[in-house]
């Protein structure tokens, strides 16, 4: 059952989206950290960076759980 689900998700559009979302979230975390160093409170006053980090971790977990198996 789990193998079927992994097969279904692996390589799907959702999987591809997760990969792209992961890259963007990584970039966002780096960018927000840089902005906070340059101008403190410029991001955290509007946005909870912990939420971005949580999304990034969840996305990474999905990618790790449903990674494509190399034959």
């Amino acid at each position: 059952m789990l193998n079927k689900r992994i097969k279904f998700i692996s390589g799907s559009k959702f999987h591809q989206f997760c990969w792209e979302f992961f890259y963007v979230l990584s970039g966002a975390l780096g960018l927000f950290a840089l902005m906070e160093i340059i101008k403190p409170w410029s991001v955290v006053n509007y946005l909870n960076i912990s939420l971005v980090l949580l999304l990034w971790v969840l996305d990474a977990m999905i990618l790790l759980a449903f990674r494509e198996k190399k034959v």
């Binding site: 960018l31 902005m35 946005l47 939420l51």
Partner: protein
């Protein structure tokens, strides 16, 4: 774009979104237009989880904060505002409702201008006394000022100022004007008077006529509070036109820690000759770590303004006199707990750091306060003196909850009444931010409801929303100034 794969389109969309978000954040951080609005709604939602710009209302024991209500139960309450850059003015729009306008008729809001004295420049939100009198007495609006007269006599504020009534018939609100002040029958003295020890900041009026202005004080740094800036002292002397005529400085004693070590006290001696006769105001600006000892002056008439922190030694009683109709008392140390006598009637300070507000039950022309405890902060409306005969107050009375209206015939107020929104009221307060104290991007604001004590558990006002519209220089204006 047509040949892009689904994955490339997603990639482009997500990265574009991030760049757009970053640009918006940069715009909000720079505020290039010079205009920005920050809002607070007690029942509002913060979907993105940001820290926001308006901080919590403190101290916690003076507010009741639920998901829908923000009630003020003690005076004053504070909040901070973070701004990414400096602004020059603010328009605060506050939607509120009072619960007992008769007992707590005044609500004021302001911003901190002096971190040492913890001075806030307050502006009126609502004054129920004036609102009520405006419906009962004839009123005139004159260049943004409100003139209320029990019996119509003056056609304008300028006419009243040019030909003033007796000062005890006049009251001001949010307005200042100095009338020439003369103490009839005043005789200069040359003998030195010793005053009790005082802690922290204080201000007093001194009347001089054909004599030097003389005041000597030893400052002892108690080193009980750690302060990065140390504990400096500044003394300003102002004439009756509020012009500074002298300034004195004393640096920190060299110990910035709170280790309680005592260095020898250091003296400031003020001796100003050839001053024209009249009232002078001396402002001693320091923090609560400084003790003023051996206060000596040849002036017979010294009237301390509004607040005194008496630091008399235990078992040494101090008598002070005031024309104020109440005293607000707080023991800053267990040594201050005990009996306080108001016109020979005993009251008890039971707890340290608890505010007690007592009106003089048998109020007289001049009321006497007798204290035996040490380390007690005493406040009133008006002035205090250490001698009954030398008490004076050159200030015009202020319209506050303790004002005796029976003798007042004229009121000048710089005040706009709030707008009614059903059960809620909306008031707008204009604030000048050019000289406000700002640390790490934060300015401190205060909402004051005089007389409201948290110990009583009564609600003074409920705040529905708060909006701060800030205006400053635009980025283009800043660049032009930089280029010049």
């Amino acid at each position: 774009m047509k040949n892009w794969s689904w994955r490339q389109k997603i990639r482009w969309s997500l990265w574009s979104g991030l760049v757009l978000l970053a640009l918006i954040l940069v715009w909000l951080a720079l505020v290039p237009s010079g205009h920005m609005t920050y809002s607070f709604h007690q029942s509002g939602h913060n979907w993105l989880g940001g820290k926001g710009f308006i901080g919590s209302f403190t101290p916690a024991d003076r507010v009741i904060s639920t998901s829908t209500d923000l009630r003020i139960i003690g005076d004053p309450v504070y909040f901070s505002l973070f701004t990414p850059r400096r602004f020059e003015s603010a328009k605060m729009t506050i939607v509120y409702r009072g619960f007992d306008y008769e007992s707590y008729p005044i609500i004021e809001a302001g911003v901190m201008v002096d971190p040492v004295l913890r001075n806030y420049r307050l502006s009126p939100v609502s004054n129920f006394i004036i609102d009520r009198l405006a419906q009962q007495w004839p009123s005139r609006s004159d260049n943004g000022l409100l003139l209320l007269q029990k019996e119509e006599k003056y056609k304008s504020v300028s006419e009243l100022l040019a030909n003033p009534p007796q000062l005890d018939e006049l009251a001001f609100y949010n307005y200042q004007h100095s009338f020439p002040f003369k103490l009839e029958g005043y005789q200069a003295e040359s003998n030195i008077k010793n005053l009790p020890d005082l802690r922290g900041s204080y201000q007093f009026y001194s009347y001089i006529d054909n004599e030097p202005l003389n005041f000597s004080v030893d400052f002892l740094d108690l080193n009980q509070n750690a302060d990065q800036n140390g504990d400096p002292v500044k003394i300003y002397v102002y004439n009756s036109l509020s012009q500074a005529v002298a300034e004195y400085d004393l640096a920190d004693d060299g110990i910035k820690e709170d280790n309680g070590k005592l260095n020898p006290s250091r003296n400031i001696n003020i001796n100003l000759d050839n001053l024209t006769a009249g009232v002078y105001k001396v402002e001693v600006k320091t923090n609560d770590d400084l003790l003023s000892q051996n206060i000596k002056s040849t002036q017979s008439h010294l009237a301390f303004i509004s607040r005194l922190w008496l630091y008399n030694r235990p078992a040494q009683s101090v008598n002070i006199w005031t024309k104020g109709s109440f005293v607000k008392v707080k023991a800053a140390d267990p040594a201050g707990v005990g009996v306080i006598s108001l016109n020979n009637e005993d009251f008890y300070i039971n707890e340290t750091y608890e505010q007690y507000l007592w009106p003089f039950v048998q109020s007289q022309e001049i009321n006497e306060v007798s204290l035996s405890g040490s380390d007690v902060v005493v406040e009133t409306s008006g002035t205090f003196s250490f001698s009954e005969k030398t008490l004076f107050n050159p200030d015009v009375k202020k319209v506050d909850s303790q004002l005796d209206l029976s003798r007042i015939k004229y009121i000048i107020a710089d005040y706009t009444p709030p707008v009614s929104l059903g059960i809620w009221r909306q008031a707008t307060v204009e604030m000048d931010l050019t000289d406000v104290y700002r640390q790490k991007g934060k300015s401190n604001f205060m909402i004051s409801i005089p007389g409201l004590l948290a110990e009583n558990g009564l609600t003074g006002a409920e705040i529905k929303s708060l909006r701060l519209e800030l205006t400053g220089k635009s980025l283009i204006q800043k660049l032009k100034e930089y280029v010049k």
